[in-house]
């Protein structure tokens, strides 16, 4: 069966520090991979998606970037965090004709 791992679960980082969140998927090949951000009490905003290794599409201009160095690995990064980067970050995967499968998220607090 397919599983998705996302870590860390919580993270507190100072403003101006770098960020690296990692997500890995098991049990499926060539999935579409996604990074979402969820503000408190709100729906999900798509940040990045990838249809293959090295292929990244950005949905919103921001202080973040994404990379997909391997088929089942998706990384969310920032060189210098801003206060506004605080939020709940979710990684997800899907294949065509199927819903999204989410990880359990990373709660990022930028102080």
């Amino acid at each position: 069966s397919q599983t998705i791992h996302q870590w860390p679960a919580t993270l507190v980082q100072p403003v101006g520090s770098p960020l690296s969140l990692e997500c890995t998927v098991e049990g499926t090949s060539n999935p579409n991979l996604y990074w979402y951000r969820q503000a408190a009490g709100r729906g999900l905003q798509l940040l990045f998606y990838s249809v293959g290794i090295g292929q990244i599409s950005s949905e919103v201009p921001q202080n973040l970037s994404a990379s997909r160095p391997q088929d089942r690995q998706f990384i969310l990064s920032s060189k210098k965090l801003l206060l506004s980067d605080s939020g709940f970050y979710l990684c997800a995967w899907s294949v065509i004709h199927s819903p999204l499968h989410f990880g359990n998220g990373t709660r990022l607090t930028v102080t």
Binding site: G43, L44, L46, P99, F102
Partner: protein, 113 residues
């Protein structure tokens, strides 16, 4: 632009009652609709989906109804249990790529014992 909204941000029901969570969407080109359940501190979980060529789809204790005429989607939960307490999101997409879905803000369902 696209928007997906839920009629009520919160819903409180008695254990054992049926719950109905509603969602309105604005993109008439949407052809794939999904309901997700999100428990506190966790990622959303898929509940049930429906494609635009259907009006109704049933799962275990859950039913999704789609009314394309008025662009309305609903999730019915039969015999609601305390474990059903969560935030429920509807999502719609104009193609089969669920990752490009537009999400509503969610309805918080509270089940009273």
């Amino acid at each position: 632009g696209e928007s997906v909204g839920l009629h009520l941000p919160t819903l409180s029901v008695q254990e054992g009652d049926n719950s109905i969570i509603n969602c309105a969407y604005s993109n008439s080109a949407s052809d794939y609709f999904i309901w997700y359940k999100q428990e506190s501190g966790k990622g959303p979980q898929f509940i049930i989906d429906i494609r635009s060529n259907m009006d109704k789809r049933q799962g275990q204790r859950v039913t999704v109804l789609l009314n394309k005429t008025v662009k309305h989607l609903s999730l019915q939960i039969a015999a609601t249990q305390p474990g059903d307490s969560a935030v429920y999101f509807c999502a719609e997409t104009p193609n089969t790529n669920a990752g490009k879905s537009t999400f509503g803000d969610g309805t918080t369902l509270t089940v009273k014992p």
